[in-house]
Symmetry: C2
Subunit: 216 residues, 2 copies
C-alpha cells in the first residue's frame, strides 16, 4: 500500500517459524519486516502503533494464550480503511479454522508448507488488497458454495460439542438446562444434516469437517 516497499509484521509464537518467515521473506527486496510478535495481543498492539501493510498471522497461539489468531485478525481489521491486511499463515486448514479467519477479515490464508515463492506472491497480493488463498482453501470455499451447506446451528453445535466430550443425552440436558427430549431432537437434526446415524459417527464426521474443535 506504500507503493514501493511492503512493510510486514510477523505474528507467531514459535521463534523458529518467525525466523523461517524472516529468512524467506527478507530476501525479497521490496519487503521490509518491521516487527515480530510472539503473542496475538502484541500483534494487535504493534499493528496499531506501527505503519504496517501486511500482518503474517498464525492462528494457533498457545496453549494458554488469551487471544487466538482469528480474534487478533478481527481486532486488526476492525479499524477498516488504513488497517493492515492480515495474511493467515497456519499449519492446518480445517473448516473450523479457515472460515472464522476469513469472516474475521483475513485477506489471505496460506499453509506453512507453502513454498517460499508462493508466500511472497501471497504477500504481494494481500498488500494490494487481492485475496490470496491456498489451493486447498479455495477449493473448499468453492465446494461450500456448491453444496447446500449442511451447517449446524449454534445450538446444535453446542450439543454436539458436549456429545464429543462423552456426555450422555441426560447430562447434556442438565448442562444446557434442556429437557432430554430437546437434546434428542437436536441430535436427530444433527444426524440428518451430517448424514450419519449415531453419536460417535456424528462426532467423527463433525471433526472431519472441522465443525467442532479438536481439543474439546
Amino acid at each position: 500500500m506504500t507503493g514501493t516497499v511492503i512493510r510486514l509484521l510477523l505474528a507467531d509464537d514459535h521463534p523458529v517459524v518467525r525466523a523461517g518467515l524472516r529468512a524467506v521473506l527478507e530476501s525479497e527486496p521490496d519487503f521490509e519486516i518491521v516487527a515480530e510478535a510472539a503473542t496475538a495481543e502484541r500483534a494487535v498492539e504493534l499493528a496499531a502503533e506501527l505503519a504496517v501493510d501486511v500482518v503474517l498471522m498464525d492462528l494457533q497461539f498457545g496453549p494458554g494464550a488469551a487471544m487466538n489468531g482469528a480474534q487478533a485478525t478481527a481486532a486488526i481489521t476492525a479499524r477498516g480503511a488504513g488497517a493492515p491486511r492480515v495474511l493467515v499463515v497456519t499449519t492446518y486448514d480445517t473448516d473450523a479454522d479457515t472460515l472464522p479467519a476469513l469472516e474475521a477479515g483475513a485477506t489471505g490464508y496460506l499453509l506453512k508448507d507453502a513454498p517460499p515463492e508462493e508466500l511472497a506472491r501471497a504477500v504481494r497480493s494481500a498488500a494490494a488488497g487481492r485475496p490470496a488463498l491456498a489451493p486447498t482453501v479455495a477449493d473448499r470455499l468453492l465446494e461450500r458454495m456448491r453444496t447446500p451447506a449442511a451447517a449446524l446451528s449454534a445450538r446444535e453445535t453446542e450439543v454436539l460439542g458436549l456429545v464429543a466430550d462423552g456426555l450422555t443425552n441426560q447430562a447434556i440436558g442438565g448442562r444446557l438446562h434442556l429437557s432430554l427430549a430437546t437434546v434428542k431432537s437436536h441430535l436427530v437434526h444433527i444426524y440428518t444434516k451430517l448424514g450419519v446415524e449415531s453419536r460417535t459417527a456424528a462426532v467423527r464426521e463433525a471433526r472431519a469437517r472441522g465443525l467442532i474443535r479438536r481439543g474439546g
Copy 2:
C-alpha cells in the same frame, strides 16, 4: 561426535520451518548444516550417505507421506553405533507421538516453540549422546513411570479405534471377526482402564491421552 563441529541434517516438509531452523542454528559457530530433507525417505538416504552427527527430525510429514518421522527415526538409528543421533523437533506432544519416537531411538524430543538457546543446547546434548527432552515430555515420562500405566492392549486399542470411527459394536465384531459379546467384553475392560463409562467418553479420554490417532 566429530569433536569440534557438529554436522546437522534438517528433515522437515515445511520450507519455512527448515529456513527457521537453519537461521537459528547456523549462527552457532560449532554447528554446520550439511543438508536438508523435505521427506522422511530423503532424510534416511541422506543420513546414510553423508557424515551427519545429529538429525533434526519432524514427526509429521504429510499429508500423503509414505513414511513418518518415527519410522525414519527407527531406520536411521537402526544402524546402531556410528549412526547419527536423532533429535525430534515437532509441533505437538501427545503420548501417541512421543513414546513411539523415543522407542524408535530418538535421543531427544523438543517442541517447535522452544527458544533458540534451548534448541542449540539440545543439539549439543544429542551430539554427545545425552538425552535432550522438553520439560513437558520429561514430565510425562516421569508420570508414566509413577502411574500403573493404564495402557490398553493391542486388541483393545484396535476395538477402540473402530469405536472412534463411529462403528457400532456389531459392525466392529464383523470387521474384526469377533462376536458381539467379545466386543462388549473388550469395551468393558477399556472403560475400566480409562475410568469412563461410555463409548464416546472413552474415545475422548483416549484421544486426550494420545492412545489413539487423531485423523482416525
